[in-house]
């Protein structure tokens, strides 16, 4: 199976580290995997970032999103969506992590008949978008959480079961 891991951007933080490490481990197990993101936080990347392949927008967009948070806020989601749409046909499973990756992946996966495994690191309150969020979460094929506590939250918010996989080191 070919996996496309989707993150808004990659930096040294926990969820991003999981994405990079997972990508490397899947490649080692013979499942070609890549990470799609808007930019890399150069100089602050998780260990192993050099050994995985990234799918990035053009240099212009990368610089724009890295330097201007407002641009990231306004244009981040549509650009990430286009990036995933352009590449989705080369993969079998999409693995979104931080928001808005999940929404982007579910829509792309539905359009191209792919599977989605959502890695939840935290739940967010989307306020007036909670209904849309719930609708899209229900379209995922599987949900992964790093703790039982979070799996319980997923169950109570979405009524869906999540598999607990403790993060590795």
């Amino acid at each position: 199976m070919r996996f496309l891991i989707v993150q808004p951007w990659i930096s040294y933080r926990g969820a991003e580290t999981v994405s990079v490490k997972l990508c490397g481990a899947l490649n080692k197990l013979g499942h070609p995997s890549k990470i799609a993101c808007l930019f890399l936080d150069e100089g602050r990347l998780p260990e192993g970032s050099r050994r995985v392949e990234f799918i990035l927008p053009s240099r212009f967009w990368q610089i724009l999103f890295r330097k201007f948070k407002l641009a990231l806020f306004i244009l981040g989601t549509p650009v990430l969506f286009i990036l995933v749409l352009k590449n989705v046909k080369n993969f079998d499973v999409l693995n979104p992590h931080n928001p808005p990756s999940l929404w982007v992946c579910v829509v792309s996966a539905r359009l191209f008949g792919k599977k989605v495994v959502w890695s939840v690191h935290n739940l967010f309150d989307w306020r007036f978008l909670n209904g849309l969020d719930e609708f899209l979460v229900r379209k995922t094929n599987a949900i992964v959480t790093p703790t039982k506590m979070l799996a319980k939250e997923v169950k109570s918010r979405y009524g869906l079961k999540a598999k607990v996989i403790y993060n590795a080191i």
Binding site: G14, R44, N141, P146, L160
Partner: protein
């Protein structure tokens, strides 16, 4: 108290309010006030740094609190090696990797007790409510029982190296896609009792009987024909088919279901436990295959494999009859409204109805089959909603009344006639049927 020349504390992570670095700094102040030679290193950067540095100057702790700023992963080991104890007073941390990294160097941590890490590190680290007093007391305990915590750290290191590898993580991750199936244990005797043998109302019982009769009508079993009853459950369909003189093989992945089917002692019928994705029959073995109320219980990617197996075991010119219910176009909107009104996230049926179809999805599913295909929609039962909730005492009376009203609106003789004779049935009929007659050459 065991004497220590000095105590080296470490906090790793972004310096923001959520990580509570001020608690660590206050603890440092108290420890030093008690005469314990303590140093605290903050590894990481963030909005709190300036304030913390100011506070250090005010409290004359500049020499004892070190701020390294951002440190690359490859250099972090140096700090873990040098410290005695790691502080993680941050709240709402789902699963921070810092205490795990520290344990690789056999260093224990004091962690906020609302962290998800309690699930895996309770034997190796200390969990407290992250107040200055609690963290301070834990540190005193750590100093007093140094040997005990050292041993814990070493045990933690062994446990992490064995259990928390990325290879294990990736394998577990891959298994999420394989495990996606309704557990066979769901299909127990009580399941068949409630849903097939003794349903909650007479309407549901007659619905089941009508559906079986319709299935037999579409299948047209003839004496000596070989017929596969895929997902045979408790064997009620197989028994009816076998009465026609055909030979029936009933397969199901639930051991309990097959035991129930065997109890029927149906003539010309053989039952076995088998995964529909890997049937043990040779190619082109069956004249006909029937699959009644099964598709909605199989996840989509598994169903693709099941259909390939059906294609393999079905003879050219063979017939494949499928019934699946409920129609998602009909059920979906009402379910959503009911969930909102009753404030529930999931109905019991959603535990096993994991792949509910509509006309278009069912039609698309048989694209790979060459031959004559027909998809029809019917109402095999009546009082669709109200009969399902009739015996349920947890449902408020007004919901039961609303269900009856909806049933009456869609199922009275006039509206049902209109619905079932027009394209409206795609959206408003309950049950979906597919009959595939394969071409003679397959």
């Amino acid at each position: 108290m065991r004497s220590r020349k000095s105590l080296k504390l470490l906090q790793v992570g972004t310096l923001n309010p959520q990580k509570n670095p001020r608690v660590s700094l206050a603890v440092l102040e108290r420890l030093r006030a008690k005469g314990i030679d303590t140093k605290l290193t903050f590894v990481g950067d963030g909005p709190e740094r300036v304030g913390l540095e100011k506070k250090c100057r005010r409290l004359n702790l500049e020499s004892y609190a070190v701020f390294t700023g951002y440190v690359e992963n490859k250099d972090l080991g140096h700090y873990y090696k040098k410290c005695d104890l790691v502080l993680m007073p941050g709240t709402r941390e789902t699963f921070s990797t810092v205490p795990l990294e520290a344990l690789i160097y056999a260093k224990p941590s004091i962690i906020s007790d609302d962290s998800g890490l309690t699930e895996v590190l309770s034997e190796y680290c200390m969990f407290v409510k992250p107040t200055v007093g609690n963290v301070y007391r834990k540190i005193l305990d750590f100093i007093k029982n140094g040997k005990k915590y050292e041993l814990r750290g070493q045990k933690g290191r062994v446990w992490i190296k064995k259990n928390l590898t990325w290879e294990r993580y990736a394998k577990d991750f891959l298994s999420t896609l394989e495990e996606e199936q309704v557990l066979p244990e769901v299909y127990s005797k009580s399941y068949f009792d409630i849903h097939h043998e003794h349903p909650r109302s007479d309407y549901l019982y007659s619905e089941r009987k009508n559906r079986i009769a319709r299935g037999i009508e579409y299948l047209e079993p003839r004496p000596r024909e070989k017929i596969l009853d895929l997902g045979c459950g408790n064997g009620e369909v197989s028994q009816v088919i076998s009465d026609s003189g055909a030979f029936v093989w009933g397969v199901d992945y639930s051991i309990e279901a097959i035991a129930l089917a065997k109890e029927r002692r149906a003539k010309n019928a053989d039952f076995s436990v088998s995964d529909a994705e890997r049937l043990s029959f040779r190619d082109n073995y069956f004249d006909k295959v029937i699959c009644l109320d099964v598709f909605e219980h199989i996840y989509p990617h598994k169903l693709e494999k099941v259909l390939l197996e059906v294609k393999r075991v079905l003879k050219p010119g063979g017939r494949f009859v499928v019934a699946t219910s409920p129609n998602s176009f009909y059920l979906g909107p009402f379910m959503s409204i009911a969930k909102k009104l009753l404030k529930i996230k999931q109905f019991e049926s959603e535990e096993y109805h994991v792949n509910v179809f509509n006309y278009f999805r069912l039609k698309k599913l048989f694209k790979g089959f060459k031959g004559k295909k027909s998809i029809t929609l019917t109402n095999d039962g009546h009082f669709y909603f109200s009969s399902r909730i009739a015996m349920n005492s947890n449902i408020p009376g007004w919901v039961k009344f609303a269900a009856k009203l909806v049933d009456y609106l869609f199922e009275n003789p006039i509206s049902e006639k209109i619905i079932l004779l027009s394209p409206l049935k795609i959206f408003l009929a309950h049950d979906l049927w597919a009959v595939v007659k394969l071409k003679d050459n397959g």
